[in-house]
Symmetry: C2
C-alpha cells in the first residue's frame, strides 16, 4: 500500500451526502461531499472527534451533513490513534482503563486526560498533515482550496496543536475542552480566525476552561459563543452560525450543493 495515497474502500449515500471511507497507511478516515463529489473550489473542513468517539460520531456526522447539504463544503474526518477502526496500543489501553477506573471511583480524570490527549495529539498532528497532503493530491479537491478545522474535546487539543504547526489551516472552530497547560500554550500561539463554542452548564468540563482558552488565544479575530445546557447539542440555528463562520473566514459564498 502506498502510504501517500488515499484509498477509498467503501461508499454510502444518505440524504444527499456521499460518505467515502478511506485509508491512508494506518489512518482510517471518511470524506463527506455532495453526491456528485466535491464542489469545485469548495473549502475543505477537517473535523476532529471527541475523546472516545470516532470519525462517524453522531454529532460530527450531523455537522458534516449540514455543511455539505446547505453550503457544499467538503468535510474530512479521521480516527484519532487507537480510536474507531484503529487498534489501540498497550499504553493507550492503560490510559483508557485508568479513565474508566477514575470515573467509577468518582476521582478526577484531569491528569489522565492531560497525559493521554497530549500523547494522542502528538501522533495525530503528523497524521492530519499527511491526510491534508493526500486530500490535496486528489483531482477533485486540489491544493488551492482553503482549509478549516473544527473539533470538540480531544478534537480541540489536536486541532490547536495542528493549527499552530500547520499554516494551511486558515480558520478553526472549537467546542469544549479541558484547558490544561499545553492547550493554553497552544492557544497563546494561535493567530488565525477562531471561534469557541461552550455549554454554560457543562457538568464534565465546566465554564472556566472555555473562558480561559478564549482569553489566552492570540487571534485578533476571535469570538466566544456560550449556550445553556449540559450537552453540546447543536440546534439548526447554531449549526448555521457555525457554517457562516467558515463561509466568512474561508471566503466561501455558501452555495447550496444539492
Amino acid at each position: 500500500m502506498n502510504h501517500n495515497t488515499i484509498h477509498f474502500n467503501a461508499e454510502t449515500s444518505f440524504d444527499g451526502v456521499l460518505e467515502r471511507s478511506f485509508t491512508l497507511g494506518d489512518i482510517t478516515g471518511v470524506l463527506f461531499s455532495p453526491e456528485s463529489g466535491p464542489v469545485l473550489g469548495a473549502p475543505l473542513l477537517l473535523s476532529g472527534h471527541s475523546g472516545g468517539m470516532h470519525k462517524r460520531a453522531p454529532g460530527l456526522v450531523a455537522s458534516a451533513q449540514h455543511l455539505v447539504t446547505t453550503r457544499g463544503y467538503t468535510v474530512a474526518a479521521i480516527d484519532a490513534p487507537g480510536h474507531g477502526d484503529r487498534p489501540r496500543n498497550a499504553r493507550d489501553r492503560e490510559w483508557v482503563e485508568a479513565l474508566h477506573a477514575a470515573r467509577a471511583a468518582g476521582e478526577s480524570m484531569d491528569q489522565i486526560i492531560t497525559d493521554y490527549n497530549t500523547s494522542l495529539a502528538e501522533r495525530a498532528v503528523p497524521e492530519w498533515q499527511a491526510t491534508i497532503d493526500a486530500l490535496q493530491a486528489l483531482p477533485d479537491i486540489g491544493a488551492d482550496v482553503p482549509i478549516g478545522y473544527g473539533g470538540t474535546t480531544l478534537g480541540v487539543v489536536i486541532g490547536l496543536m495542528l493549527a499552530t504547526a500547520e499554516p494551511r489551516i486558515a480558520a478553526a472552530a472549537f467546542g469544549p475542552v479541558l484547558a490544561f497547560d499545553a492547550v493554553i500554550e497552544a492557544a497563546r500561539q494561535l493567530t488565525i480566525p477562531v471561534e469557541f463554542t461552550i455549554s454554560w452548564d457543562d457538568s464534565e468540563i465546566g465554564r472556566q476552561p472555555g473562558l480561559r482558552l478564549f482569553d489566552a488565544c492570540a487571534s485578533v479575530d476571535k469570538a466566544l459563543h456560550v449556550y445553556p445546557g449540559r450537552h453540546q447539542q447543536m440546534s439548526a440555528f447554531m449549526a448555521d452560525n457555525h457554517a457562516r463562520f467558515f463561509d466568512n473566514h474561508l471566503g466561501w459564498a455558501g452555495v447550496p450543493a444539492i
Copy 2:
C-alpha cells in the same frame, strides 16, 4: 396634541433608508424603514440607546440601516427621558453632574448609574408601551407584526424592565450593561429568547456583569457572544449575526427590502 397618536414632523432619506422623526406627547422618536415605507408584515424592532446618547446614536443608526436594508425590518428608537431632544429635569441634572464629578475624580460611578438608570427605566417603560400602542395603530405597521428589542447600557436596563412587563416583546438582544441588583432581578424573570453580546476587554464595564447577567437570565433559549476589543464596534459579520437572531426568533425570512 393627541398623546395617543404619533405625529411625524420631519423625514430624511439616506442610502435606501427612510428616517421619520416623530413625537408622541412628550416622547421624541425616529422610525427607520425602507424608502417606500414599512414592508408588509416586517417585524418591528425597538432600539434602546446607551446612557448619555440619544435616538440617533451612531451605533444605533448603523444597526438600524443594516436591519432595514438587508432584511426589511422596521426599527423604532425613542429618546430616554432627559436625553436627545427631551428636556432634562432638575433631579436628572443632579445625577448627570454627579456622574461627571465622579468620573473627573476617578471615583466609582456604579451607585449613581444604578439610581439614575433605575429611575430612567421606570419612566421609559410606560413610554415604550405607549409608543408600541401608537406604532401598532399606524396602518403600515399594524397590531400583528412581531416585536423585538435591542439595546446597550441604559438601553439594556430599560429593555429588561420592558420585556418583563410587556408580553408584546418576543425576543431581545442586549449589549453590555452594569449588572446591578435590579438588572439581575429582571433577568431572572426574563423567559423570552435573548442574546447577550459583550466586549471581553471592556474597560468601563468589564467582563463579569455580562457573565452574571447571562447566568441569571431564566430564558431557555439564550446565548452569550463574546468578542475581543474595548468598544462595542460591530463588524458587518456581527451585525448580520444580530439580524439573524431576530429573523430566527421573530419568524422573519429576512427578505432584502431594497
